[in-house]
């Protein structure tokens, strides 16, 4: 990290399944309010719960959290939550595209899709973080970030309620770091 310039990264992408809500909340509550990258969060949602997920996450977050509209620009210091029932893609010009195509790994939004589009568009300038989850969605996306030389962090399976997601990622490649939620917060605050 040492020799990478200020504002090197274009975004941080975080993925987890429905159960990772409390971890994401914790991370966003712990992150400093002057954080200078956009954060994209893709969480699996329980079907047919018209959730207060956005409200819930916003409650404690130090950064504003919003569900992007199609072709919105991403801005530093904002958190973008993938809207329910849409896949969220990152485009080359730092805008978002939405899609309603078929579920992937039983999921829409799919973490793989968001992650792999971020790695296609930003190549090494992306930080991928995969959290606790009960599904392998996200592992392939993380692997792609890794292959394009982005920075990868997997939540320590020992700190996960359900470790299927992190373990699926660890089976595919060796990430730059394996961290606890507190470790992730510290890492982000030192970027």
């Amino acid at each position: 990290m040492m020799n990478r310039k200020a504002s090197y990264y274009k975004s941080v992408v975080i993925g987890g399944s429905a159960g990772s809500f409390s971890i994401v909340s914790k991370i966003l509550a712990g992150i400093k309010s002057d954080f200078r990258y956009p954060i994209i969060v893709c969480l699996h949602r329980l079907k047919h719960i018209r959730s207060g997920l956005l409200e819930g996450i916003n409650l404690k977050s130090n950064l504003p959290v919003l569900e992007p509209f199609d072709k919105d620009n991403m801005e530093a210091g904002k958190v973008y939550l993938a809207p329910s029932n849409y896949h969220l893609f990152v485009e080359f010009d730092s805008t978002f595209s939405l899609s309603t195509e078929e579920v992937h790994n039983h999921s829409r939004p799919s973490i793989d899709y968001t992650f792999s589009s971020a790695s296609t568009s930003f190549r090494e300038k992306v930080i991928g973080i995969i959290l606790t989850g009960a599904n392998k969605d996200g592992a392939t996306g993380m692997h792609e970030i890794h292959k394009k030389k982005g920075y990868t962090i997997v939540q320590d399976p020992l700190t996960c309620d359900v470790d299927t997601m992190p373990k699926a990622a660890l089976q595919l490649f060796t990430p730059d770091q394996i961290l606890s939620p507190d470790g992730i917060i510290e890492f982000l605050n030192n970027l």
Binding site: H48, F69, D70, K71, E91, S99, E101, E102, Y113
Partner: protein, 280 residues
């Protein structure tokens, strides 16, 4: 040809066929093409060869590239808004012209017709529905669907309509259930209201002379890049009466110039007449 990219492929597709996907959103069109390559176990070079030589293959390709997912009463809150706030304003009109652009397999069209019938306005309604994909247009015409795939939307509709009118027809009034199968088909009095047509928003002019009171274009523009979106929205703007409405999908927005030419309420964008139009 070793370094053929999906962009140059799209240029070739445009040159050799009526189809132009060059200005679709990069990431999603690229992934759709990758999916085609994977499904057919072919290279981009193979794909290009077939594109140049095999017309039937190209038609099938359009079906594979386009995203046709749809639902009955998709995003119920939008339909609720239309039923309570928007459509009742059309009562005084002699005719109500409606266009569904990118109608896919027709669920959106029949959802809408049901609401107009519930408002007692079905007789005034003239509906056209278009899509680039010939296959989905044929299916929309058939109006035949699987009950199990639509069950939860049907329940949502029945709950919604009873909330506003305890004498309302339930969904079952509008279709015939096929005995011993999972299929249902919409009744003729709805089906015959719709003129379906294959039409490409990108490379063809709008094929209608009349203007519209309501244009649905939901979850179609998300597949286009911002410049293309703008060009298509301009066409819609020109084809709407003053006070007419454009209905977009749940997380779509108008950007740039047209943001100021429509008044937004939820996903419903009302064309503001040039006379009323003032900067605040």
């Amino acid at each position: 040809m070793g370094n053929l990219t999906f962009k140059t492929y799209l240029e070739e597709l445009k040159k050799h066929t009526p189809y132009n996907f060059c200005e679709y959103s990069d990431n999603s069109i690229q992934r759709r093409i990758d999916k085609v390559l994977k499904d057919h176990k072919m290279t981009l070079e193979d794909l290009l060869h077939l594109t140049r030589t095999d017309e039937a293959f190209v038609e099938n390709l359009v079906d594979e590239i386009t995203v046709n997912t749809t639902e009955l009463f998709r995003n119920m809150e939008t339909w609720e808004h239309l039923y309570t706030k928007v459509f009742p304003n059309l009562k005084s009109k002699k005719n109500i012209n409606i266009w569904h652009a990118g109608c896919s397999t027709g669920q959106e069209v029949y959802s809408n017709l049901i609401l107009f019938n519930e408002l007692g306005l079905l007789d005034k309604v003239k509906v056209v529905a278009t899509d680039i994909n010939q296959k989905v247009i044929s299916n929309a015409k058939k109006a035949e669907y699987l009950y199990s795939a639509h069950q939860s939307s049907i329940q949502d509709y029945n709950e919604f309509i009873k909330k506003y009118n305890s004498n309302a027809h339930t969904f079952e009034h509008y279709c015939d259930m096929e005995k011993n199968t999972d299929k249902f088909v919409f009744k003729d009095f709805l089906k015959k209201k719709v003129g379906y047509m294959r039409h490409d928003l990108v490379s063809q002019d709008i094929p209608f002379y009349q203007k519209f009171d309501v244009i649905f274009c939901r979850n179609v523009l998300i597949y286009f890049n911002p410049e293309l979106q703008m060009r298509i929205v301009r066409k819609f703007f020109d084809k709407l009466y003053d006070g007419g409405v454009l209905i977009l999908g749940n997380h779509e927005a108008l950007h740039g110039f047209f943001k100021t030419r429509f008044i937004r309420s939820g996903m419903v964008y009302t064309k503001s007449s040039t006379f009323q139009f003032k900067y605040k």
